[in-house]
């Protein structure tokens, strides 16, 4: 067991690009630069939210951590071991403690299988539970944990509502006793009232079981509740990282400020504010030179068009913006 100040997951310099192939010889003509130089860590029992708009690479990072993609560079250290260098057998063993919950529970559940069998499937694979009776008891316990009636375990997914199905997916992830769960847009498809239920459930499970979450989402307003730390991505790069409270109160990067300002507010006094940035997100296969955000940045300088900013340490985190550079400390 690692102690509290050690990280359970440490991602370092991760790069995952997808080749674009054209023509008869399927020659590589370019790359979708999905994730570049991505680094972060998550401590046991903590939540990091990875936030950004479509094409920012947040899901690629999640999939790379689970080794569902083949990163070209970097390390994914989980419980002290680099997953990217493990052989298939060791990787499989490590995966038990690293689970994922997707956005659409209907797509990740088998409609023809009783939910008890889906929840118990991972237990079989990893040899959890001595016999059928023990596994059934554990399925019942898991369903109770996610606040579903254990008597419904013989039902099929279509007999449950969207929110209940997401609870089933969470129970299935918990069945193999993970330490870290990657939640990829896990509450994004849910109605507001159900979203609140699932967010509260995830938080309670974290407190009870000491789980860590990598919470991937496009919705900044949701992460405020769950995340201890936030990393904001734009076109394949993390542009700002820091504790949730600081990031919401004093966003350092112009893109973080834009993302926060763009959330439609339910405060009647805040209506009709001008859109914080113009235009669309450029394609990750042809990201702009220099700082990727300069084409939409309201405070872009000449330098930003030519030079890609490195990460600068700021109070409470880091920011990939020349304006975050401490004066007289250029490096």
């Amino acid at each position: 067991m690692s102690d509290a100040n050690e990280s359970i997951l440490r991602v370092e310099g991760l790069r995952t690009w997808y080749p674009i192939r054209r023509g008869l010889l399927r020659r590589v003509v370019g790359h979708v630069q999905a994730a570049t130089d991505v680094s972060f860590e998550i401590a046991p029992g903590r939540t990091l939210a990875l936030v950004g708009e479509s094409g920012c690479g947040k899901s690629t990072v999640g999939r790379s951590i689970l080794c569902l993609e083949n990163p070209q560079e970097g390390r994914v250290e989980f419980e002290g071991r680099d997953l990217l260098s493990l052989d298939a057998t060791s990787l499989r063993a490590a995966r038990q403690r690293l689970q994922i919950v997707f956005q659409d529970p209907m797509a990740s559940l088998d409609p023809r299988m009783r939910i008890r069998d889906q929840i118990a499937e991972g237990m079989h694979s990893f040899g959890i539970g001595a016999d059928e009776a023990e596994r059934t008891a554990r399925v019942a316990e898991l369903l109770e944990r996610v606040q579903l009636d254990p008597r419904t375990m013989d039902r099929y997914p279509n007999e449950f509502s969207g929110g209940q199905r997401q609870r089933i997916c969470i129970a299935r992830a918990l069945a193999v006793e993970p330490r870290l769960i990657v939640c990829d847009e896990s509450v994004s498809a849910l109605d507001v009232s159900i979203q609140a239920q699932i967010l509260n459930l995830l938080r309670r499970l974290q407190e009870e079981l000491g789980l860590s979450y990598l919470f991937i989402t496009h919705d900044l307003s949701v992460v405020r509740y769950l995340a201890h730390e936030v990393a904001v991505m734009y076109l394949g790069r993390i542009v700002e990282r820091g504790p949730t409270e600081r990031l919401f109160a004093h966003p350092a990067h112009p893109y973080t400020r834009a993302l926060l300002a763009a959330i439609p507010s339910i405060d009647p006094a805040r209506r009709g504010e001008a859109p914080p940035v113009l235009g669309d997100v450029p394609s990750p296969s042809r990201p702009p030179p220099g700082c990727h955000f300069h084409t939409r940045c309201p405070v872009a300088m000449e330098r930003c068009r030519r030079e890609a900013p490195p990460m600068f340490a700021i109070e409470g985190g880091e920011s990939r913006c020349f304006l975050s550079e401490a004066p007289g400390r250029a490096d």
């Binding site: 509502s161 507001v192 309670r204 763009a262 439609p264 339910i266 009647p268 113009l278």
Partner: protein
């Protein structure tokens, strides 16, 4: 002056195992000229089906079985199919969530708008193209001349939605139905489209029936808000009182459960339970199975409409019993 659109006791059903299942059940509201009314609700609330019922586009085997829909005094439910087709497109236009489902991928976008104009008006191709170019400029498409000849896949999501808006406005409709118009867009692009819709609404005076699940979008665009739950209207109020002093327990719960309203570090106030299926709807108030303030009559009888303040309508026994008796109609 009477309202532009008057919907009365609208009822739309789908055949179900235990007989016809209502998806819209006794819904009545007005939309004034130049007004933005938001129909708000979660999935299954009947908000989109209400819009489809108004347009007479309810997918089969569903059908409108009762009520009336009047546009400028004319009953739309009684029109012939041909006459109704003229209403759609010419007097009422639509914007949907996913622009790609409405744009033809193999036709240049300018041409698609030109066709839409010429379908409804007797104008030359050149005139229609001039008008399309002006519309593209009006909806903020940069370099409109060049974009006329673009195919949909060459445009970003935000630009495609702008083309859809240009097409919807091309026939100068009196009313626009916008069904989750920004849900598929990134949040920074959504902010731009919301601003555009508000500016166009003000400059053109087009009435908008906005269908959305997002109370933030309601705050950005709506003048009035109608909240739906399980096929029924539960509350109608102007925007500000609805957001600041909601009266129906469902509206209250919905606002409280929004992450933006709560305090970081504390659990979000939830609405317990799930929306019941139509086959399990209680006889009385549909929200009574989840309501924190329910009492005896709630499960048995549907609450009558009360008018707690000017312009406000609420369907709730608890609100009714706390009103001074002359407050109820």
């Amino acid at each position: 002056m009477s309202a532009l659109l008057e919907v009365r006791d609208l009822r739309t059903v789908f055949p179900g195992e235990g007989g016809p299942t209502p998806v819209v059940d006794g819904v009545s509201f007005d939309l004034d000229r130049g007004e933005v009314l938001a129909l708000v609700g979660e999935s299954g609330s009947g908000k989109s089906m209400t819009a489809f019922s108004i347009l007479r586009l309810v997918p089969k085997p569903g059908r409108v079985v009762a009520g009336s829909v009047r546009l400028g005094g004319e009953d739309l439910l009684g029109l012939s199919v041909t006459a109704m087709r003229r209403v759609r497109g010419r007097r009422i236009s639509m914007i949907f969530q996913e622009p790609m489902t409405c744009l033809n991928p193999v036709v240049r976008v300018g041409e698609q708008v030109v066709e839409a104009i010429r379908l409804h008006e007797d104008v030359s191709r050149a005139d229609a193209r001039d008008r399309t170019r002006a519309l593209f400029a009006e909806v903020g498409i940069p370099d409109p001349e060049a974009r006329l000849d673009a195919y949909p896949h060459q445009l970003s999501g935000g630009l495609k939605q702008r083309v859809m808006i240009a097409m919807a406005l091309s026939t100068r409709p009196e009313m626009l139905i916008a069904d989750e118009p920004t849900t598929a867009l990134d949040v920074t692009v959504q902010a731009q489209i919301l601003t555009l819709l508000r500016e166009l609404q003000q400059s053109r005076g087009t009435a908008i029936l906005l269908i959305t699940h997002d109370l933030g979008i309601v705050n950005e665009l709506a003048d009035r808000v109608a909240v739906m739950y399980a096929g029924r209207l539960v509350e109608i109020a102007p925007r500000v009182p609805l957001l600041t002093e909601p009266l129906h327990p469902y509206t209250q719960g919905l606002l409280r459960s929004m992450p933006a309203r709560g305090r970081p570090g504390e659990p979000l106030p939830e609405i317990p339970g799930v929306v019941p299926r139509a086959s399990e709807w209680p006889r009385g108030c549909r929200f009574s199975t989840r309501c924190p303030v329910r009492f005896e009559p709630c499960a048995e009888t549907y609450p009558a409409e009360s008018h707690p303040a000017a312009g406000r309508r609420v369907f709730c026994h608890d609100v009714e019993r706390r009103l001074p008796s002359e407050g109820a109609r």
